[in-house]
């Protein structure tokens, strides 16, 4: 069963339009949602949680319609938003007591363990926490009620590299259980590259691509050549290009490039930038 299925999801407000989004997150997988600011990542997560009304489309979580079952579904979903909205006067101990009275499966033991792992003080008011500590407390809360699905919206931003690494380890640990899944959006694409099984590119409200990370890395590559050489290639092979006085840097499909051409590996960040820019040029 899939953890999450989104079909033809659309939402318009102000100058923004989320355009017929289709996504499937299989159980036991981590999907990274990549996109620029305003691409629709947070909107997608809010729509999944039924925090805002959709204009059209369907969302199912473990096969259940999210709107009809949202309260029971939320019992099994851990969420960290880009701003952890815990009241500033509360300390971690008080937050734990509130959450114990909120989630049916809340575990004080798991919570205290998460606080310890993330080096968070239990008695210090939230207002005295740094941005990184705030995110860590959000993560500790999200992981302490035995969730089956984690939705993380920019949860690693503001964290220093060491803590980011710890969080990534916690997510890896979380997905060792095959019934656990994660949807994570981040600007720090290198983090997503480390942990994600699937990558979805959102750009200006449209899904440009959703594929297994390994398939993306295997199928695409970077080609450095001249403009004349590029013109010799099948146009289908070229998925994006940057032209400079020193030559052309092109994103290509490896299977469409003749053997003998020197195609170097591409990382997910380069892949996204090429594809997003190419989409803008069309």
């Amino acid at each position: 069963m899939n953890a999450l299925e989104i079909s033809n999801l659309s939402k318009t407000y102000g100058g923004f339009h989320l355009d017929n989004l289709n996504l499937t997150l299989p159980n036991g997988c981590i999907m990274g949602l990549i996109g620029e600011n305003g691409a629709g990542k947070s909107t997608t997560i809010k729509l999944i949680l039924d925090m805002i009304d959709r204009d059209g489309g369907d969302i199912t979580i473990w096969g259940k319609d999210n709107r009809e079952n949202i309260l029971s579904l939320k019992q099994d979903i851990g969420v960290v938003l880009d701003e952890v909205g815990i009241p500033e006067c509360l300390n971690a101990k008080q937050v734990g007591k509130i959450m114990k009275n909120t989630f049916e499966n809340w575990s004080d033991l798991a919570y205290m363990d998460n606080l310890r792992k993330l080096s968070l003080p239990a008695d210090k008011p939230f207002k005295e926490f740094s941005r990184g500590m705030r995110m860590k407390l959000g993560i500790a809360v999200a992981l302490s009620h035995d969730p089956k699905l984690l939705l993380l919206d920019e949860a690693t931003s503001g964290l220093d590299p060491v803590v980011r690494d710890e969080v990534i380890d916690m997510l890896n640990e979380f997905t060792r259980d095959e019934s656990h899944s994660v949807l994570i959006s981040s600007h720090i694409i290198s983090d997503l590259e480390k942990i994600c099984d699937y990558i979805a590119f959102l750009h200006k409200g449209k899904l440009l691509m959703c594929e297994e990370k390994d398939v993306l890395i295997e199928h695409y590559g970077l080609l450095q050549c001249s403009e004349t050489q590029l013109a010799q290639l099948d146009p289908e092979a070229v998925k994006g290009k940057k032209i400079s006085p020193y030559g052309v840097n092109a994103l290509v499909r490896r299977d469409k490039v003749p053997s003998g051409w020197n195609v170097s590996p591409v990382n997910i960040e380069e892949l996204f930038i090429f594809i997003a820019k190419e989409t803008d040029n069309i």
């Binding site: 009241p87 006067c89 909120t102």
Partner: protein, 209 residues
């Protein structure tokens, strides 16, 4: 909903300490001071406005967003504020009534009708604030909801002016009778419940971006 009430209790305990001090001072003034009704009206009205104070802190801290990820319905989120307001308001209200009764007894001027009249007046004044303001706040947020606050201040000023002109004992004997008091309490409760329902409807339609 227990978690929401606990959270509001923690916040009220932290942010409303100054209000608690005011209540204690005003209780002392009510008991020992002259017959100035302001000192029991003011804490009652301010206690009624506690939910608005909590909502403004919620908005500042982005709790209004975060609560959306928790397994609470919008009806529960709204109801928690009404219940918190009722609990705190009821505590302050009961303390003030007891103190007022003790004051009358201490001075040998205990009149049950006067106590009932004061009790009803305080009840209605305490409840009118959240009744009028909360639907605005849940529909437009605290910033825009302040417009309702200004309307409310004007209303209180008018009530205060009228109050000054009323001779309580004369009013009691002439037009304040049992039926009027029961009707006033009934209308206040009805409007409060209507406000509660309206706030739920407004909040369900409000999108927090």
């Amino acid at each position: 909903m227990k978690g929401l009430l606990l959270k509001d209790f923690y916040m009220a305990a932290k942010y409303c300490r100054s209000f608690l001090a005011i209540v204690i001072v005003f209780i002392a003034v009510t008991f020992f001071g002259d017959n100035n009704i302001f000192f029991i009206i003011y804490p009652t009205m301010v206690a009624g406005l506690l939910p608005m104070t909590l909502i403004s802190y919620d908005e500042r801290d982005k709790w209004d967003q975060y609560s959306g990820v928790l397994p609470y319905s919008k009806a529960q989120l709204v109801s928690a504020k009404y219940i918190t307001g009722l609990l705190f308001g009821a505590c302050v209200y009961l303390i003030l009534i007891v103190v007022y009764a003790a004051r009358m007894a201490n001075r040998g001027t205990f009149i049950l009708d006067e106590l009932i009249f004061i009790g009803v007046a305080l009840f209605v004044l305490g409840i009118v604030g959240p009744t009028l303001m909360l639907p605005f706040v849940f529909k437009y947020g605290v910033a825009k909801g302040r417009i309702a606050f200004y309307v409310l201040v004007g209303l209180f000023a008018a009530i205060g002016t009228a109050w000054m002109r009323i001779d309580v004992y004369r009013a009691l004997s002439l037009w304040i009778n049992e039926r009027v008091l029961i009707a006033a309490v009934g209308a206040a409760v009805l409007l409060y419940l209507l406000s509660w329902r309206l706030s739920i409807l407004f909040y369900k339609k409000r999108e927090l971006n």
